[in-house]
Amino acid sequence: MATLEHSETPGEVAGDGVRRRDFINIAAVSFAGVGAATVLLPLINQMNPSADVLALASIEVDLAAIKEGQAIKTIFRKQPLFVRHLTAAEIAAADKVDAASLRDPQTLEQRTLAGKKQWLITMGVCTHLGCVPLGAGEGEVKGEFGGYFCPCHGSHYDTAARIRKGPAPKNLEVPVYKFASDTVVQVG
């Protein structure tokens, strides 16, 4: 090591061609780089959903009032939720289709809870670009397959809310839910 008496000049080249200043340079700039990157993290992360947005509690939906063939629209995490009481004919129509032939292969069983096949609960958000499909409200167009129809870019969903025609890539999303009692379902 250099001492005060034999100090190397800062620009002096050692035997291996590396100057002491090169090391200081690299070390200082690397540390500054790591520091800058660390500061960047919160600057980017602040844009993610805040705690109050994430904390939106789960909701309970009372099914007693929904008659067979009816559907309701409610709000779950600031997005529309469709709860539909399927008729026997609609269940039969959904079961008749060979799931393997679909764009997003799923059977009605996979999209409903065991023993509660008549309750189809899905997000009301088209998987194409996020519009609200029609078909849940009274008198709305249900599309060519009797389920939902998205007016924005013409996606047709069937009675199991599976994508059948149009640009959407996936079936309507089924949120996590469970039956709190026979007539009350807890979503989220």
């Binding site: 844009m47 993610n48 959903p49 805040s50 947005v53 629209k73 709000i75 995490r77 600031k78 997005q79 529309p80 009301g124 958000v125 194409h128 670009l129 996020g130 519009c131 609200v132 998205c150 007016p151 924005c152 870019h153 013409g154 149009g166 640009p167 959407a168 890539p169």
Partner: protein, 420 residues
């Protein structure tokens, strides 16, 4: 750089001489947009649109800063605060209409500016950087306009925000988290509105900064001209001031007449009635369309209704839409013809007209509902758009036999006046 015969800044007043020594800002202005900048003598009225774009940005900045004094970027009151501007704020209706129509007029003059550059080969060497910076400005303008349209928090604002951020959701694997990150939630809400307002206020100043770079890059080779022939000597140029300040001033007058005509007599013509309904996350408008200046790109987005191999239609549309703009960044290297001006390129001229028609068709389809025959027409038109730049231009620039070029700008000007 400037031409050696450019006028030299020589302040006479002692105060100006003093200022020139301490801070030569008047000198900078004189050399940039004053008598110190020599410009080809033969520019036609298509060369007005750069200055007009700058004027449109100025209008947007002034009206926008004022509107921000009365607007509240909160999902609960944003819609009401816009109505407050329209009904209660003194002259608020005029300022808001001026801002909304100002955006449309900004795009009108910028599109004319872009097509001027396309026709007269202004993107070619040595002006590639001018073209590239111009495209950056165009992208920034699109982002600014989109975010500005969200601020009134009407139905079109809300669903526009949902659909456009949904485009990012099409990206495989990371798309969903990116969309959530952009919105700060699972659907457009207060967080999204606030950040859009913040960025909508910021980006115009970024645009102004890039415009300075755009002009700086332009002034190194100097302006192109309708013949596309390089400036050869002092006889080919006139000083920017007073010659083109006067010509641009006249153009500005015409522009303002048209703008005010729209602003005072048909302020809602280019808007959507749905945006006067407050945002409702539970009800999608029957027909979501963006503002007219996005229609050609929206048509390309919707043209993909089928999967190709493993790539889903949704992603293809998004890729194609972004590609249609990114493609333009490669234009200086796709068109290899050394002749700049379309006036001397008979084949290019015809294809240029076809491209303009094609973009107009795309625009029409982008504003139409997503049903036949518009889907098929936009598919064909989108295919032609890409073919124009990727196939036709490179081939034409190889095979075409250009007309003889004039020896100089002056020769072209004198020949024209001789015939008249």
């Amino acid at each position: 750089m400037s031409f050696p015969w450019a006028n030299h800044y020589a302040p006479k007043h002692p105060l100006m001489r003093w200022l020139d020594e301490k801070l030569p800002l008047p000198r900078l202005v004189y050399n940039a947009v004053g008598a110190g900048y020599p410009v080809p003598r033969n520019l036609n009225y298509f060369w007005n649109f750069g200055v007009l774009s700058g004027a449109a940005l100025g209008i947007q900045l002034i009206t926008g800063i004022i509107l921000a004094m009365h607007y509240a970027a909160n999902g609960l009151v944003a819609f009401d605060s816009v109505e407050h501007i329209m009904r209660d704020v003194n002259s608020g209706w005029m300022l808001r209409y001026a801002h909304a129509n100002g955006a449309s007029f900004f795009f009108i003059v910028v599109y004319l500016h872009i097509f001027r550059g396309l026709y007269y080969g202004s993107y070619k060497a040595p002006r590639e950087m001018v073209w590239l910076l111009g495209l950056v400005i165009f992208l920034l303008m699109m982002a600014t306009a989109f975010m500005g349209y969200v601020l009134p928090w009407g139905q079109m604002s809300f669903w526009g925000a949902k659909v456009i951020t949904g485009l990012f959701g099409a990206i495989p694997v990371v798309g969903g988290p990116i969309q959530t990150w952009l919105l700060g939630g699972f659907a457009p809400d207060n967080a999204a509105l606030n950040r859009f307002f913040s960025l909508h206020y910021l980006l115009p100043f970024v645009i102004a900064a890039v415009i300075i770079l755009h002009i700086w890059a332009l002034h190194i080779p100097g302006s192109n001209n309708p013949t596309g022939v390089d400036v050869k000597g002092p006889q080919d140029t006139v000083p920017f001031h007073p010659y083109y300040t006067a010509k641009d001033g006249f153009g500005l007058g015409v522009f303002l007449l048209l703008y005010c005509g729209m602003l005072f007599f048909a302020p809602n013509y280019m808007g959507h009635p749905d945006n006067y309904i407050a945002a409702n996350p539970l009800s999608t408008p029957a027909h979501i369309v963006p503002e007219w200046y996005f229609w050609p790109f929206y048509a390309i987005l919707r043209a993909f209704t089928f999967d190709i191999w493993f790539i889903p239609a949704k992603l293809l549309g998004v890729i194609a839409m972004f590609a249609s703009i990114l493609l333009l960044f490669f234009l200086p290297w796709l068109d290899k013809s050394p002749v700049r001006s379309g006036n001397y390129r008979p084949a290019f001229k015809k294809f240029f007209v076809l491209l303009v028609i094609d973009v107009l068709i795309l625009g029409y389809c982008g504003g139409a509902p997503a049903e036949e025959p518009y889907v098929m027409i936009s598919q064909l038109a989108a295919a032609y758009y890409f073919a124009h730049f990727l196939i036709i231009l490179p081939i034409v620039s190889k095979l075409e036999k250009p007309l003889p070029l004039p020896n100089s700008i002056t020769e072209a000007v004198l020949a024209k006046s001789g015939q008249a």
